[in-house]
């Protein structure tokens, strides 16, 4: 049996007594100076989709209107609590800064997808080129395609900022990793702005009619805890 971590909270923050973690394991507050790590004492968990959901549910269970924890990534397990002591103490100032930034806020995800994007715009293959000239032509095509995609992503990002900027505390932009993805952003949004954020996000459909915009949330602020 070792120690599995879910999230980091301000010291003294209460954990609901009936809240459970992976496979129904009990949760315990492990205090490190003036921070609290929510842990379970369990064997190293198998990585499954069910465990991912249980990990997230445990974190959601300790959120209050005032306190949003710093979520840990799935799989943070150690044979004993020593590793947690070391890392949390080393990064204590960062955890405090994040807890302050997260207070009263949660994360929304916004993913712009263009299903009709031609394959050449994202995935020009150069490895199969038969001759040097073919290779250079393919390389040029790839560079042009990537530049065009980057410009499109920049334009969409600007549009998102204009429409939603007033309702977000922080933004993270992620490289689109799928063939039709244009841009993926995460926003840290105050609770009082949730409705306005959702309403204004609908305007993106009008401004960019060729794209699909997938808005999800509220989530624990995973994207702002990396």
């Amino acid at each position: 049996v070792g120690v599995y971590g879910y999230c980091v909270l301000p010291g003294g923050h209460a954990i609901p007594h009936d809240l459970t973690g992976l496979d129904g394991a009990g949760l315990r507050a492990y205090t490190i100076d003036d921070l609290t790590v929510v842990i379970s004492e369990i064997d190293r968990p198998e990585p499954t989709a069910e465990h991912v959901q249980q990990h997230n549910s445990a974190i959601e269970g300790v959120v209050t209107e005032e306190v949003t924890p710093v979520p840990l990534r799935f799989g943070q397990w150690a044979p004993d609590a020593g590793m947690f002591d070391k890392v949390v103490r080393e990064k204590a100032a960062w955890y405090h800064e994040r807890l302050k930034a997260f207070a009263g806020a949660l994360e929304f995800g916004l993913r712009a997808v263009r299903p009709d994007m031609p394959p050449s715009a994202r995935d020009v293959r150069i490895a199969q080129a038969a001759t040097g000239r073919d290779y250079m032509n393919a390389l040029r095509e790839k560079v042009v395609a990537e530049r065009g995609h980057s410009e499109e992503a920049d334009q969409v990002r600007q549009g998102i900022s204009e429409i939603l900027g007033a309702f977000i505390r922080e933004e993270r932009v992620e490289e689109a990793r799928t063939p039709h993805g244009v841009i993926t952003v995460s926003h840290l949004v105050s609770r009082e702005s949730f409705d306005e954020y959702r309403e204004h996000a609908q305007r993106l459909r009008t401004r960019y009619p060729d794209m699909r915009f997938l808005v999800s949330g509220p989530w624990m602020p995973y994207s702002f805890a990396s």
Binding site: P47, F84, P115, A201
Partner: protein, 70 residues
């Protein structure tokens, strides 16, 4: 996928978004874990699901996801 009720579609997309977040982001203390099926990372599978679902969603008018508000 095209015959799925909208609520199932929304649930699958929510799960894909969750898996992507919980595995790929968040604070790291002890190390990395990747869930994979048949040698393919679930993070990537999740993103594939999001894209295919988005194309299905086009015909359904599903543009906004709010887990828990199906």
């Amino acid at each position: 996928m095209s015959n799925q009720p909208t609520s199932d579609l929304t649930r699958e997309m929510g799960l894909a978004e969750l898996v992507n977040r919980v595995l790929d982001r968040g604070a790291v203390i002890t190390g990395e874990v990747t869930i994979s099926v048949a040698g393919i990372d679930l993070i990537y599978l999740g993103l594939q699901l999001i894209v295919s679902s988005a194309e299905t969603a086009k015909s359904r008018g599903v543009y906004r996801l709010n887990p828990g508000e199906e």
